[in-house]
Symmetry: C2
């Protein structure tokens, strides 16, 4: 039996594992959709035991897992590349820039980590249907893990989600309900659905194990960084759950006495979907009005995890920054051309942010900076092609090729 | 200095590392595009030294690498998931089915492995431009690795390559020349280009390190399978280089005395792009006439590596099989729905093949069978959507959702 319990992030009350499922019953009593979640639960482990049992030579990550290994679905997630890019460092003006490329998860986003753990929990509980609202990535992730686990995924997405993401969910065999409305409408609907019809709700932050699942990316960074804590991690932020998960990883490690300081977390949002940024900068929470950005994965009016996200940013000594869609697209191209990593717009926002921070002194030039890439660019090819021209076809002769290359060189002198 | 040499797969002549670059000069003297390559070179290592130095507790894979680690580009490839799927086994009628999901390489295909090694070789040689012809995946892979390595990629692709693959190459900063013609035309053109204008040619099989790069997937399977040799590996086959690479891995391991038998290799081709299949089955080589399949990555008239591929299949005790486009699409859906792996059509062909082999006794029911997934489904969403209908959007109310779900249940009784 796992030795862990839940603690309400709002009132601090403790709950046994099976005493609660989603939010703190006390704090969430008055919660109504339309504002960020209140009473998000945080898993607390037996940190003294972890300190005694954890060995770097043979790390047992199950010590940090809220669900027992025997419930894990046959769907390996994580274990994605972590590496330095000197070229991107030069381009952005920082000496020590690293990438964690989590777009290389099976369904092509970091969200696989959260879905994996919630489906493991569903196995433990014997739940057969898992319900979620998503801008696209969490839904494809849930659909994929449910396919592997033989469960039913019921998914609410905004009807304008990128086609590739919709195609993924349907191929994985999920029941997909495109909603004529925003992500926030889909979120509300899915809560209503599970309240009235049952099934396990996997909505981000609403189910506490979404944060725990995302936490694993932080643990991996620590291990892959040879057990050192990076100075700064830039995180694309929509609902604020990934940044909370990364923070939780290092808080757990610190509580277990395995590290002595936290990485500074930088929240990166799109200019027109900036509710958490505004909250961090001003201290006052307001929903984002008509969020509108090419970075669909971080387009949200009411970030479900706004309160915990703000806390993670401030607690880590980090800060928040926003970038425009034009900066995001430029960041996407810079990332691809300098590192060979093709990231979706939301993830490219962190590259744009780093470029923008050059010379600002908010990040030291010599700091070890990690850019968290959360989704693959192939998820949204249309956005990537925005403003790009595919070269025209040539006849299959060397003469035609050379003429075409010469003509291009004249147009784009390098 | 590496202790290895090249051996011609046709005449057996040995060459020192820098004595040759592409094909065996003697055997390829009369080679003209229009037939498979003749005189493909094979790297030979000091197997006695490997036997002495290789330790499973701390495996040094550089012993098997044709290029020194110091030349490696900053672009981690491989290390992709290998896992069992009981559900897919049940669905196909085999007891022990495993997946190697190499679509989770950075540019989303196994081709990253070959491009990685050829770019490492370019670093060693001081070559700045790398040239390739490709149906799409090898080109995106080359473009990605070149981006990370600061090299110029010059790429010839058929103009009808999937848009996602073209978008990738362009974003990575490659010089892309879409050719009004087939992959075979692009192949010929690229050879002509490097012969007259220089640069390192990375064409598959033409550069011997493409096979060596792809070999690493076989080494990984062996390691991830706890140092056991699987009974059978199904490989999607176009040019025949991947199947050769997988074979080479196990031949190297056997030569080093680390294993005692080879896995049987099953060549899977599309019905209408079946030159290698025909060659294996009949013993007579003929170009495929007007290859036409939804599996663009294995659509080829003149498989460059036909001779070595046939040899690998026969030498391993394997065989060849073809599948139709309809079977490929059904395989893609089965794979996604049973395992959560979204593979491109070419890779889905192996699932279709396994299903077709049920009850044929060509593979034993209890054999450990590995399906090699070579490319991610996100590379070609249009194909995946072929024949699928996206569900229509509903109003954001629970009543509308329930009505829509009921209507669907009536249409598709489960």
């Amino acid at each position: 039996m796992k030795k862990f319990f839940y603690q309400c992030s709002n009132c601090g009350k403790h709950y046994q594992r099976d005493e609660v499922r989603y939010l703190c019953p006390l704090c969430a009593r008055d919660y109504r959709p339309g504002v960020p979640l209140i009473g998000v639960l945080s898993a607390r482990f037996d940190y003294g035991a972890i300190r005694k049992q954890f060995r770097k030579e043979k790390p047992d990550w199950n010590l940090f897992s809220a669900v027992e290994e025997k419930f894990f679905p046959p769907f390996p997630v994580g274990n994605t590349p972590f590496f330095q890019s000197v070229a991107l460092g030069k381009e952005t003006g920082f000496d020590d820039v690293w990438l964690k490329n989590d777009g290389l998860n099976p369904s092509a986003s970091l969200k696989d980590r959260a879905s994996f753990l919630v489906v493991a929990e569903a196995n433990r509980l014997g739940e057969k249907t898992i319900v979620a609202a998503s801008t696209g990535n969490a839904a494809s992730a849930l659909a994929a893990v449910c396919a592997a686990a033989g469960k039913r995924a019921l998914i609410f997405v905004p009807a304008n989600a990128p086609k590739a993401k919709l195609a993924q969910m349907i191929l994985y065999g999920a029941t997909v309900v495109p909603v004529r409305g925003t992500y926030d409408d889909a979120f509300r609907l899915s809560l209503e659905y599970t309240a009235k019809r049952g099934g396990l709700n996997r909505n981000t932050a609403y189910h506490p194990l979404t944060i725990e699942g995302k936490k694993t990316v932080g643990l991996e960074i620590w291990q892959q960084n040879h057990w050192r804590v990076p100075d700064v991690i830039l995180v694309p932020t929509g609902d604020g759950v990934i940044i909370s998960g990364v923070h939780k990883a290092f808080c757990d490690l610190k509580a277990a006495g395995l590290i002595s300081r936290l990485p500074r977390l930088v929240c990166v949002q799109a200019e027109k979907s900036n509710a958490i940024d505004h909250y961090v900068v001003s201290g006052i929470y307001e929903n984002a009005v008509n969020p509108d950005t090419i970075a669909d994965s971080i387009s949200v009016s009411i970030p479900s995890n706004a309160h915990l996200a703000r806390q993670a940013i401030l607690d880590s000594g980090g800060f928040s920054i926003t970038v425009s869609d034009a900066e995001i697209l430029a960041g996407q191209r810079m990332l691809a051309a300098k590192t060979g990593v093709f990231a979706e717009p939301a993830s490219s926002a962190v590259v744009a942010a780093l470029k923008k921070l050059r010379g600002s002194r908010r990040i030291g030039r010599r700091d070890q900076v990690v850019l968290l890439i959360t989704g693959h660019g192939l998820k949204d090819v249309e956005s990537a092609l925005h403003g790009l021209r595919l070269p025209s076809a040539v006849s299959p002769t060397l003469a035609a090729v050379e003429a075409a290359l010469k003509a291009r060189a004249r147009k784009e002198p390098s």
